[in-house]
Symmetry: none
Subunit: 417 residues, 2 copies
C-alpha cells in the first residue's frame, strides 16, 4: 500500500509557510511501513486540485490531504473531493457542538462561516479536532482512500497521532512489524561511506539502507519488516553489524541523538565538569551545550575570547605565545584549554581558536582551526583542522569536531580522531 | 509563465528532511511574478521521476528541480532528464577543476564518484556552485525550460540568487521592473499588526503586502511592479510611508537584516565595544554576534556563567546578592552587566539571567528573564521580561529583546522599550 501527501493552500505556493506537515506525515507513514512515493502541493483552486486528485488516484492508494478545511471561501478541499467522488456534504452535529464550545472557551464570538467547518463528507469516518475547529475525515471508497486533515501543524499532528495512525493500521490489515534504526557517523564523507559499504547498499532489500548527509554528518537509516518483531530486529542487527565492522570508527550514536548529546552523556556518566574558551566559535559550543535541558550544571562556565586582549588579560595566554606563534597556533589553543579549566575550576577545558573567515588571519588560510583539550590528570592535546565552507559552516564543523574529539578522549579511544 | 518546483530525494519522502527549498524558490518566483501552481516531491527512482517530469511538462513552463545532483548512485536527476529530452551528458572541465580545488582546500581525498558531479547536460547553461560541488544548469528546449539546482539549501540558495534569478528574468523577456522590500518589526504580534493596517492589506494590488510572522518577529513584504523603475520605487515608498505612520515604533529595519545586525551597526557607528555575561542564554548572544563577519572586533569578549560559582568567582557578583536576592534578580543582572564591562574593558556590558526551563528556579516561573544594560557614563538599567514558549524559544526571544533594548538605548530612545 502506498500513500501520497497532498497539501492544499496557496500560502505554500507563495512561500509564505513551509510544508512541515509533509515531513511529519512521511515520518509517520515510514514507521507504518506505508510507502510515500510523492508529495504534492496545490493551491486553493478547485480545478487544479481536482487534477491533482485524479493524478494521485492513479498512482497512490491513500491520498492524505492537509489544509483547506477552514471557514473561508478559499477552503475547498472537502467540497472538491465530495464533488469528485460523488458524495454529499452533511452537517456533523458533534463537530458543530465542539466548535461552539471552542468559541465559548476562548471567549470569542462565533461567526456564521465557522459553521462551514462542521460540514463533513457523508460515509466518512470523523476524527475530532481537539486543538482547533475543523474535524478530520477518512473516506474509504472501493478504489481509493481519502484522509482529510487540517492544515495547522498544531491541530494536524495530534489528530494524526490519536486517530489517523490507528486508522491506517486498520486499513493495512497487516501483521508485519516494521522496525527502523538510524546509525549516525561523523568524520567520514557521504561518498567515502557509500564506497565502503557499496555492496551492502546494492544488495539491500530487507532491511533497506538509506544514506543521508548534512552538515558534515552522514546517517544511514535501516528499516526491516517481518511478521515477527524478533526476526525484524535481528535482521536490523545483522546489517548493522556488517556496516559497523567496516566503518565503525566513525559511528557515534543511534536515532535522534547528536554529537553534543553524546558528549554530554559521557561527561555526565564520568561525573566531570567542563569549561570552554571560544575564539572563532564565539560561544557556539556553549550555546549548543546549554541548549540541552539539564546540561548547564556540567558546564561550569566559559569565556568568549575573540580579542587578543581578552585572551591575554582574562585567559592568561602568555604574551610571547601571541607575539611569536600567533593566536592561531597549537600553543595558544593549549594555553586556552588549560587556563579556562583553571579559571572555571573544571575537570575539562576545551578551546577553539582559528580562522572562520572571510579573511585569513596571521597568514593562516580560512578554515585553519586549532582545538585544545585539557583533561585533568592527562596531557593536553591539540588537534588541527583544515575546514572548508562558509564562515558559518566552519564554526559549526569546529564545534562538531570538538565534540567528536572529546567523546573519543573520554571513551579512552585516543587514536580514533 | 508558470513554474513547478520538483524536489528529488527519497530523504524527503521518508521525512528525514524538510523541503525548505520549495519555500525559498516560491518566494523568489513570487517576486519575479512567475506563478507557481504546484510543488512536487519525488524519490530517487528514475521511473517515478520520469512520470513526474511528464506530468509537469504538460502543466508548467519552467520545471525547477532541486536535489539529485550529488556523487552517489541515488543521484539521478540529470541522468533522467538527459534521457527524457534526448541530450548527452558531458564532462564540464570547469566544474571538475572547481571540485578538485574544493578537495585540495579541505585537504580531503577525492573519490572517483565525485567526478560524476562535474557531468552536465549538453547545451545547458551552467551555474557555478560556489558553496559546494555540483553545478546547476538551465536547459531551454522549445517546449519547456528545465532548471537543475543542488539539494543542500546552503548551495542552492546562493546559486539561485546569483545565477538562477537573472536567468529567469532573461527567460521572461519582460520589461516590467519588479521591486520588493521587506519591512521588519519587533515587539508587536502579527494579529495586532494586521489589525492596524487591515484596510491597506484589503485594498492591496500594486504594491502587494504580504505579512509573515516567525520567532516573535513580523515582516511585511511589499512588492511593486511597473515599466519604470522610478514609478515602481515610488509606489513602494508611498505604501511604506502609510504603514510606518501607523506602526513605525515597532519597525527596526529593511530586508535581510536582523536585530543583531542593526545592533552591530549602531555599536560600530558609535565606535563602542561590548562585552556580555550570559547565564540562561548560554552563549547565544555572543554566538549570533560573532556570526556576523567583522563584528568580532566589537565584542571584546564575554563569559558564560551558568553556574553560581562562576557568577561569584569570575564575575564578582556579591555573595549577598546571590544569597538574598537570588541569581534571577534585578540586582544580579545589574552586577553582571557592570562587572563584565569592567572585566573585559568594554564600553557596554550586557547581561542575561533568568529561567529558560523546563523547571522553575528560585521560585521564579519559567520565562522570567532579567537583562542588565551598562553603558559607559550612563546609569545601568535592568529590564524584566516574562516570556512564553519552549526553553529554546525563551532563549531566542531573550537575545532578540536584548538587541531591541540596546538598540533603543544607543539611539537615545530611552522610552521605546
Amino acid at each position: 500500500m502506498n500513500a501520497e501527501i497532498i497539501a492544499v493552500g496557496s500560502e505554500l505556493l507563495l512561500g509564505q509557510i513551509i510544508n512541515t506537515n509533509a515531513r511529519f506525515l512521511s515520518q509517520q507513514l515510514a514507521e507504518l511501513g506505508v510507502n510515500v512515493f510523492y508529495h504534492t502541493c496545490v493551491g486553493d483552486n478547485p480545478d487544479r486540485l481536482k487534477e491533482a486528485i485524479e493524478i494521485a488516484e492513479k498512482r497512490s492508494d491513500i491520498l492524505i490531504f492537509t489544509g483547506g478545511l477552514g471557514p473561508t471561501k478559499d477552503d475547498l478541499t472537502k467540497e472538491t473531493i465530495a464533488k469528485h467522488v460523488n458524495k454529499q456534504l452533511i452537517m456533523n452535529e458533534e463537530a458543530l457542538h465542539s466548535i461552539k464550545l471552542y468559541f465559548e472557551r476562548t471567549k470569542r464570538q462565533m461567526t456564521e462561516n465557522n459553521k462551514k467547518q462542521a460540514i463533513v463528507l457523508e460515509d466518512a469516518h470523523i476524527f475530532p479536532n481537539e486543538h482547533g475547529m475543523a474535524p478530520g475525515m477518512l473516506l474509504d471508497t472501493e478504489k481509493n482512500k481519502y484522509m482529510l486533515l487540517p492544515g495547522p501543524p498544531k491541530e494536524m499532528e495530534p489528530m494524526f497521532l490519536k486517530y489517523g495512525y490507528q486508522a491506517i493500521r486498520t486499513l493495512l490489515k497487516e501483521d508485519d512489524v516494521i522496525v527502523s534504526r538510524v546509525l549516525r557517523f561523523f568524520g567520514i564523507g557521504e561518498a567515502m561511506l557509500e564506497t565502503e559499504i557499496e555492496d551492502l547498499i546494492d544488495a539491500q532489500s530487507n532491511p533497506t539502507i538509506a544514506p543521508l548527509a548534512s552538515d558534515g554528518e552522514v546517517t544511514l537509516r535501516l528499516t526491516a519488516k517481518h511478521k515477527q518483531m524478533e526476526t525484524a530486529l535481528s535482521l536490523l542487527g545483522e546489517t548493522e553489524e556488517q556496516i559497523l565492522s567496516r566503518v565503525g570508527e566513525y559511528f557515534y550514536g543511534y536515532d535522534e541523538t547528536s554529537l553534543m548529546h553524546e558528549l554530554i552523556k559521557q561527561i555526565k556518566e564520568q561525573k566531570l565538569t567542563i569549561a570552554c574558551a571560544e575564539s572563532l566559535t564565539g560561544g557556539m559550543f556553549q550555546q549548543e551545550f546549554t541548549a540541552v535541558p539539564g546540561a548547564g550544571v556540567l558546564l561550569k562556565g566559559g569565556v568568549v575570547c575573540y580579542t587578543n586582549e581578552v585572551k591575554e588579560t582574562v585567559l592568561k595566554v602568555r604574551r610571547e605565545t601571541i607575539e611569536e606563534m600567533g593566536v592561531v597556533s597549537r600553543q595558544c589553543a593549549q594555553e586556552l584549554a588549560e587556563n579556562i579549566a583553571i579559571l572555571m575550576n573544571a575537570d575539562i577545558g576545551i578551546s577553539f581558536t582559528g580562522v572562520a573567515g572571510p579573511d585569513e588571519l596571521e597568514g593562516n588560510p580560512v578554515g585553519t582551526v586549532y582545538m585544545g583539550l585539557s583533561i585533568k590528570g592527562q596531557p593536553t592535546r591539540v588537534e588541527k583542522l583544515n575546514l572548508g565552507g562558509t564562515r558559518e559552516a566552519i564554526r559549526v564543523k569546529s564545534v562538531k569536531y570538538g565534540c567528536h574529539f572529546l567523546i573519543n578522549r573520554l571513551k579512552g579511544n585516543q587514536n580514533a580522531v
